[in-house]
């Protein structure tokens, strides 16, 4: 994926900031993951996951880290035909 990690981290943290303010923390984490799944190109999600794995989530907010760890399976790209 072409986007650099800095951009993805910034975007993820912005999204995380919105969902972190929602009343139900558990639901908010799931909604965060759903937002990325429904709005982000899978390559962007994959690149963010790669960043998470490579750096233990450097630069990501605590909420984003928790949400990604809790709902990692939603962020992985679906298998697709070549």
């Amino acid at each position: 994926m072409g986007m650099n990690a800095t951009q993805l981290i910034k975007m993820a943290n912005q999204i995380g900031a919105f969902f972190a303010s929602q009343p139900d923390p558990q639901q908010a984490r799931e909604d965060f993951a759903q937002h990325l799944k429904r709005q982000w190109d899978p390559q962007m999600r994959s690149a963010l996951c790669t960043h998470l794995d490579a750096t233990e989530g450097e630069g990501l907010s605590a909420f984003v880290l928790e949400a990604m760890q809790a709902h990692r399976e939603q962020l992985e790209p679906l298998a697709r035909p070549a």
């Binding site: 994926m1 072409g2 986007m3 650099n4 951009q7 975007m11 912005q14 999204i15 900031a17 919105f18 303010s21 929602q22 009343p23 937002h35 799944k37 429904r38 709005q39 982000w40 190109d41 899978p42 390559q43 962007m44 790209p77 679906l78 697709r80 035909p81």
Partner: protein, 947 residues
């Protein structure tokens, strides 16, 4: 083919109880309040008239429409006399004929008798009436006349010839009643009475906004379009839809051969009711501007000369480039942009090409950079990505909250309608960092101007909500019946927190708490309350949160689901709503159905005969970022200009340079086309068939007025490209495309060209439940079922002022120019706005030694440009403002990569800058000039085919 001349009933229609009268022996039943003149016309009887028009309230000055009424003395004016039950009227008698001839004789005694050479010849009401009343002689030989008065030709589009004026007041009344500008008046008394613009100024120098309502209202050649003076009367007319803003005015294009003589707003247009603005009515000359490129062009590199080629060669070349790129870099290495300036059918085809022929979901549209947060925020809260009302709804509003919008500039015809309602007594709240015209203009004054700091929308809306919740102003019954209870209670608790009180927020928003409290009370308790908003809401890092906060306010006060209320996004371009409806976003198929929805996808797969991806594709900023990284290599851009319109210009142009195949389909060599490898000439709205969908979800027909300059309408080009890419498209007319859209999109099921022809326009949803469309949404239930309140925490933008950059730049638009200016800059509208300027408060200017008109540098963390300063108190201290209509201004060189958290809509409205006086353009501007010269030199010598 439209009716060339429309019947004028003399006075407006009324809506009272039925009343039956007898006119010339013919009984006619009309609503109470109807004038005798109108009742007569409805009975098929024309009463002579000059000062009356059914677009204006009756005035009774010309004395030509006198009638006799049984049992009454004298000869009352039929235009100002309302019908009464049992009234018996005579419109013709020897005495009436004598009176009318006498009146006409007086008029003609001070009117030039140059009918044969007059521009109104063949379309002059004075001439017609002279014939109708049988005027045969003029006995007077006045010693004093107006015949030597000087003609005012200052306005680029129309002339004012006082020698031909009969002082009927129609122009003055049109300026007041229809447009609401009050620029015209009758100055002087008696013989000296004359129409005057402003304080006896030229039209161009006056407050006149050139809407043309006066020209349209004029019964003689006093106010006349210059095009008509030059070309003569038209031969036929075609009803079509304006291609400028999101109001979507209906027009009758009056034509002679293949040339437009003038554009006349359609009296039966449901969005505009016969009104127009300076752009729609007059600024259409770009369609035949010499800069139009009329043949396809290709080149290997952006530093090569363009080579003019045939359509076949251009299409084959383009398809091969895209195929080669996908073969080398993968399926996802290409994408496309649909256009909010093109038709629904064209947007639909481009997204179809991307999904079916490219085989990915890398499609986006310029709504990304304007109203994408509207789609997101309204879908989450109300269940549908669109405004809730029709424009006419404002006529039932008692309170109007305008936030982040400037309707009199951006959506002028709606602005006039709004001002009319305000003059009738509706209250206005304006939330805007600038003093827009609506805050105070003739006969309009906002009750409250909440002059907030850019970037504090959510804080302000939360504090408005705080007042509503803590002062017991919630419509509890509405909320209990219509909204999700748990989400409401969470929201109620959230906004009730004292940290959201106006007092707590005052320092942050800059708005006095007392004003916020008063505005909240007015909105919640003032009757029908409607919210209108624009890009000042969406183009922020919290754009989507702001849209949700607006929906929260409307739901909490029960101001949704009926006339006079609602949530109304004022869409920027003519077909922003439509391009979004047509599946232009990378995550949504037409009708806003997510690509992961298996049922929706199966429908399209079956219809299109391909497998579709179930994951979102790249948005515009993602495509640009991927291009920087070397993984995105080709793009098909129809009718958009991201190199000028998108933020952080250098980032955009570097991304375009990094691509191997940039294909631009446009009218002109726009800024993006300077980085293109293929140029496919586009067709203007006058050269194509299709539909546009305006801000009120109104689908309106676009009908071909003249042949496509380059031989193809835009949809035909997409069809050819798709076929060359190996995915067959076999449409022969856009109506077939609409039929396909209707078959696949639940909200369009009942839409067809035949129905559009019958109804004139249709507001979606249009289906079995609403066969003729839906003016007002969410009447009985929200589209999502229960309305969903969302907690909208204020999260400040990361763009902060500092000692180095202490001012906030915010951007917007102006009445006479449109978006990137590619169209309006190629018209005479430059008379009003020849350059972008920086508005700066006198205090900030003085601190920097800046005088009005000085060149100033604007420096942000993204870049630097220079423009001239205008010193004005319209902006607050600490805030500067500019427009982005001229590419050399480089307004978007300064704007940053910040964007809305949910949709990546750029944060155009908040950029930290420093301003300083300079003597020379910025480095970027020098480079821009050099690159522009290089690119113009690379154009073929003969590029234009004159119509």
């Amino acid at each position: 083919m439209a009716l060339f001349r429309e019947l004028d009933y003399g006075t407006p229609a009324r809506t009272g109880a039925p009343v039956t009268v007898e006119i010339d022996g013919t009984p006619i039943t009309v609503p109470a309040g109807t004038s005798v003149m109108r009742a007569a016309q409805e009975a098929g009887i024309s009463v002579p008239k000059l000062c009356a028009s059914d677009s204006l309230e009756p005035f009774g000055s010309c004395r030509l429409c006198t009638v006799e009424i049984e049992g009454r003395r004298g000869y009352p004016a039929s235009c100002t006399t309302p019908v009464e039950a049992g009234m018996k009227v005579r419109t013709q008698s020897p005495k009436l004929a004598e009176l009318r001839r006498g009146t006409m004789e007086l008029y003609i005694s001070d009117h030039p008798l140059d009918c044969l050479t007059c521009s109104a010849n063949g379309n002059c009401e004075l001439q017609d009436m002279a014939g109708v009343v049988g005027l045969r002689e003029v006995r007077y030989d006045p010693v004093k006349t107006h015949l030597a008065e000087t003609k005012d030709e200052s306005n680029p589009y129309f002339t004012f010839d006082p020698a031909k004026c009969i002082v009927c007041n129609r122009c003055v009344r049109a300026c007041e009643e229809v447009q609401g500008t009050f620029a015209l008046t009758i100055s002087g008394r008696g013989f000296d009475s004359q129409v005057s613009a402003g304080q006896n100024e030229d039209f161009l120098d006056s407050e006149c906004v050139s809407c043309g309502a006066c020209v349209q209202a004029c019964p003689t050649a006093t106010l006349m379009e210059k095009t008509l003076i030059e070309q003569g009367q038209a031969e036929r007319s075609v009803t079509t839809t304006c291609a400028y803003c999101g109001v979507g005015c209906s027009f009758k294009a009056e034509i002679k051969g293949n040339e437009v003589v003038r554009m006349v707003p359609n009296k039966n247009g449901h969005a505009n009711h016969g009104h127009a603005c300076v752009k729609g009515r007059f600024a259409w000359g770009y369609a035949t501007h010499p800069d139009r490129i009329a043949a396809p062009m290709i080149r290997e590199s952006i530093h090569d000369a363009w080579r003019t080629v045939s359509w076949d060669e251009a299409i084959a070349y383009t398809a091969k480039r895209f195929k080669d790129i996908q073969a080398q870099y993968g399926r996802d290495s290409v994408g496309g942009l649909t256009s909010s300036r093109c038709t629904n059918e064209e947007a639909y085809l481009v997204q179809k090409l991307v999904r079916a022929a490219f085989g990915n979901n890398n499609v986006d549209t310029c709504a990304r950079v304007c109203h994408s947060p509207t789609g997101y925020g309204l879908k989450v809260t109300l269940g549908e990505s669109a405004g809730t009302q029709d424009f006419d709804s404002v006529l039932a509003a008692d309170v109007v909250l305008v936030i982040g919008a400037n309707p009199t500039d951006g959506h002028p015809v709606f602005g006039s309608q709004l001002k009319r309602r305000l003059r009738e007594g509706a209250k206005l709240i304006v939330a805007d960092p600038r003093g827009i015209d609506l805050v105070r203009s003739p006969h309009v004054k906002a009750e409250h101007h909440l002059q907030l700091r850019p970037g504090s929308n959510v804080a302000l809306l939360n504090s408005l909500a705080h007042v509503i919740v803590t002062e017991g102003l919630v419509d509890e019954a509405f909320v209990a019946e219509r909204c999700e209870a748990e989400a409401f209670e969470q929201w109620r608790g959230f906004v009730a927190d004292p940290r959201h009180s106006p007092e707590a927020m005052e320092e942050l928003t800059g708005v006095p708490a007392a004003s916020v409290r008063a505005a909240a009370r007015l909105y919640a308790t003032g009757g029908n309350a409607a919210i209108y908003y624009g890009l000042g809401v969406t183009e922020h890092s919290q754009g989507s949160s702001t849209v949700m906060a607006i929906a929260n306010l409307a739901m909490a006060t029960g101001n949704i689901g009926r006339a006079g209320v609602g949530v109304n996004p004022l869409r920027g371009q003519n077909n922003v709503q439509g391009s979004c409806d047509m599946g232009s976003f990378p995550h949504e198929l037409p009708g806003y159905r997510h690509v992961s929805d298996p049922q929706a996808r199966a429908q399209f797969e079956q219809s299109w005969g391909v497998s579709l991806l179930d994951e979102p594709g790249l948005r515009i900023p993602n495509m640009l970022a991927a291009a920087h990284a070397g993984t995105f290599k080709g793009i098909y851009i129809q009718g958009e200009d991201p190199a000028q319109s998108d933020p952080d210009t250098q980032h955009v142009t570097d991304a375009l340079k990094a691509m191997e195949c940039v294909v631009v389909q446009d009218l002109f060599l726009n800024e993006t086309a300077k980085f293109a490898h293929v140029f496919l000439p586009g067709a203007s709205f006058l050269e194509k068939n299709g539909t546009f969908t305006n801000a009120e979800r109104r689908i309106s027909p676009v009908r071909k007025v003249m042949p496509a300059l380059a031989g193809k309408e835009d949809w035909e080009v997409t069809v050819a490209l798709s076929n060359a890419l190996g995915y067959p498209m076999n449409y022969t007319h856009p109506s077939q495309i609409m039929d396909e859209i209707a078959s696949l999109t639940p909200t369009f099921t009942g839409v067809s060209y035949a129905k559009l022809d019958r109804l004139g326009s249709i507001q979606w949803p249009c289906n079995d439940a609403a066969p003729e469309g839906t003016p007002i949404m969410h009447e009985d239930a929200f589209v999502r079922g229960k309305g969903r309140f969302m907690v909208t925490e204020f999260i400040p933008t990361e763009e902060r002022t500092s000692r180095k950059r202490p001012l906030i730049l915010t951007t917007g638009r102006i009445l006479s120019q449109y978006n990137v200016g590619a169209q309006t800059r190629r018209t005479a509208n430059g008379a009003w706005h020849a350059e972008d300027r920086l508005e700066i408060h006198p205090v900030d200017a003085e601190d920097r030694g800046i005088n009005d008109g000085d060149w100033v540098s604007i420096n942000s963390r993204a870049g630097e440009t220079a423009m001239r300063a205008t010193i004005t108190e319209r902006v607050q201290p600490g805030i500067v403002y500019t427009t982005f209509h001229h590419p050399e201004s480089g307004a978007n060189v300064i704007t940053t990569d910040n964007s809305d958290w949910a949709t990546n809509c750029p944060e155009y409205k908040v950029t930290a800058v420093q301003i300083s006086k300079v003597e020379a353009p910025s480095q970027w501007q020098n480079e821009f000039q050099a690159f522009t010269h290089e690119q113009l030199d690379l154009l073929p010598q003969i590029k234009v085919v004159q119509l």
